[in-house]
């Protein structure tokens, strides 16, 4: 069977400017940050990013890589407002397609099921309909005749997700309490790339957690990357919590200064070394 292991650079080498990228996780939780950092080191730009947004959106927006963002929010959780997303919106630097959280989920479901849309009781009466005038409605063909929003499929050129464990074939496991929507992102995408805290033998997966923790299956995965601490500074329970001190630094440091110190290196290894050095300095 196919060994799908790759480096972050190999993943990014398969992506291109102008693509629609789905990014898993939620807010500042289990984001595939090592893959996002690899994107930042590349020249890839003009992206449409589809995300329950956190610092993935903030970093890519600050670096000017996002043309259009499809999202119901962007937040750092413990810091309510994502500063770089805010700045990008307030300066008009990115186009937003604003969806409600449920509309967004059903858009992913539609894409994963190869449907053009899903009906949703959400959006009607709100200004989501005003700011996304391309949204259509659909009437129930049954006796109730209720009108719904027809959320178009959120089909992705590629998805990036981060899980706790994976094998070389692309089977991946979450060990935290919430799967978020990572399996849906993978199934909604033409290609999906899974980074993980630890690459293990397939037989090890069943020993780490119950069968229902095997969230992502290999048929929906193109590449697997082992990136320990790869969700930093977002949380990756139970392997580690959010790095609150570093997140605060991210949220309060001018972007050029932050990028120069932590993102200018040529590899994920350089980033991890830079954050270790920073933490040493704080002691």
């Amino acid at each position: 069977m196919t060994d799908k292991t790759m480096t972050p650079e190999e993943v990014v080498g398969r992506l291109g400017s102008g693509m629609t990228l789905g990014i898993g996780g939620w807010g500042s939780r289990r984001k595939p940050m090592a893959l996002v950092r690899a994107l930042l080191r590349s020249g890839i730009t003009d992206l449409t990013v589809v995300s329950y947004g956190g610092p993935d959106v903030g970093l890519l927006a600050a670096a000017g890589r996002i043309r259009r963002l499809v999202a119901p929010f962007a937040t750092l959780d413990s810091i309510a407002l994502e500063p770089h997303f805010r700045a990008a919106r307030e300066s008009g630097a990115l186009t937003l397609t604003e969806y409600d959280e449920a509309m967004f989920m059903w858009g992913l479901h539609a894409a994963a099921n190869r449907l053009p849309f899903m009906p949703v009781r959400a959006g009607l009466g709100s200004d989501v309909m005003r700011v996304n005038p391309e949204l259509r409605t659909v009437t129930s063909p049954y006796g109730d005749g209720e009108e719904f929003v027809a959320v178009p499929a959120l089909r992705l050129d590629a998805a990036l997700v981060h899980l706790n464990r994976a094998d070389r074939l692309g089977n991946a496991q979450y060990l935290g309490p919430d799967p978020y929507f990572d399996d849906l992102f993978c199934e909604a995408a033409d290609d999906a790339y899974v980074s993980c805290e630890q690459l293990v033998e397939t037989a090890e997966l069943a020993k780490s957690g119950p069968p229902q923790s095997l969230l992502v299956s290999r048929h929906s995965v193109t590449g697997v990357v082992e990136t320990p601490n790869g969700a930093h500074f977002t949380s990756c329970a139970p392997d580690y919590d959010r790095d609150e001190a570093f997140q605060k630094l991210y949220a309060t440091t001018p972007w050029p200064e932050f990028a120069a110190r932590f993102l200018a290196g040529g590899s994920e290894h350089d980033y991890q070394t830079a954050i270790r050095t920073w933490h040493e300095e704080q002691k």
């Binding site: 939620w26 947004g53 999202a71 119901p72 929010f73 962007a74 937040t75 309510a80 407002l81 997303f85 805010r86 919106r89 307030e90 008009g92 604003e98 969806y99 409600d100 959280e101 449920a102 509309m103 989920m105 949703v120 009781r121 959400a122 959006g123 009607l124 009466g125 709100s126 200004d127 989501v128 005003r130 700011v131 209720e146 009108e147 935290g176 309490p177 919430d178 799967p179 978020y180 929507f181």
Partner: protein, 248 residues
């Protein structure tokens, strides 16, 4: 009122906790989803006293009892099912709210180029069309209670009626640091239900950017019982965090 409670009269923050708790009275076996400190104290007080069947979350992915014992799994995708299934009553925040209960948490100013980008609409559109939605505003001001919100995130009564989506639409109440409000005014407009003790009608009018429906005689928000005050002070919020959210 007993001598013990009279000696330590309820604070404004405690009236707010009581008013928030009352939002979940008689709701039965639904998820109480409080956003913010005072609403979460209110939900806990309601569950400890008059609404014991309420479900609570740990704010992550579990349904938990009052002592934190897990009793169920509630990751985001199942939480969304609870919303659309209607078995939830959320108390959300509001950066802006109008007389019909249209709420905004997305952005201030023109949506195309906002002066202040906030959270985004989050789940407000789906919440308001599917399960009861109440609101909590810790600082009642004309900047929050506005004539017209900049981006309708949560759907108010006029918009729900115009869009024909009233089937499961219900906004039971708004609680602020000044009083309690509902939408039983003409055409489902906001009405002053009760004033927190120490607040006047004039004060509320001055802090509201639209004309409120006010009856000739407005009652005060009910007094907490001695046991309720004890629960708030000794069990639910022994560190007094409530006084940081509402300062009077």
């Amino acid at each position: 009122m007993t001598a013990a409670t009279a000696a330590t009269a309820a604070t404004r923050a405690e009236y707010c906790v009581i008013a928030c708790a009352e939002a979940w009275r008689g709701n039965g076996e639904v998820l109480a989803s409080p956003m913010g400190l005072i609403p979460s104290f209110g939900a806990r007080l309601a569950k400890r006293t008059f609404s014991p069947d309420l479900l609570l979350t740990d704010g992550e992915a579990l349904l938990v009892g009052l002592d934190g014992t897990p009793e169920g799994w509630l990751p985001y995708r199942r939480h969304l099912t609870m919303v659309t299934g209607g078995r939830r009553h959320v108390m959300m925040g509001a950066s802006q709210i109008d007389r019909y209960g249209n709420q905004n948490i997305s952005c201030i100013g023109d949506w195309e180029r906002p002066t202040r980008q906030l959270l985004g609409v989050r789940g407000a559109p789906v919440n308001t069309l599917n399960n009861p939605v109440s609101y909590w505003v810790p600082r009642h001001s004309p900047r929050v209670f506005v004539e017209r919100v900049d981006m309708v995130s949560g759907v108010g009564y006029d918009r729900a009626e115009a869009a024909g989506v009233t089937r499961f639409h219900r906004l039971p109440r708004v609680v602020s640091d000044l009083g309690v409000f509902d939408f039983t005014g003409p055409d489902h407009t906001m009405r002053l239900v009760s004033l927190h003790p120490g607040v006047t009608v004039e004060q509320v009018r001055a802090a509201t950017g639209f004309e409120l429906v006010v009856a000739d005689e407005v009652p005060y928000t009910r007094e907490p019982g001695a046991e309720e005050l004890r629960l708030i002070r000794e069990v639910i919020d022994p560190r007094g965090l409530r006084d940081r959210e509402v300062r009077v």
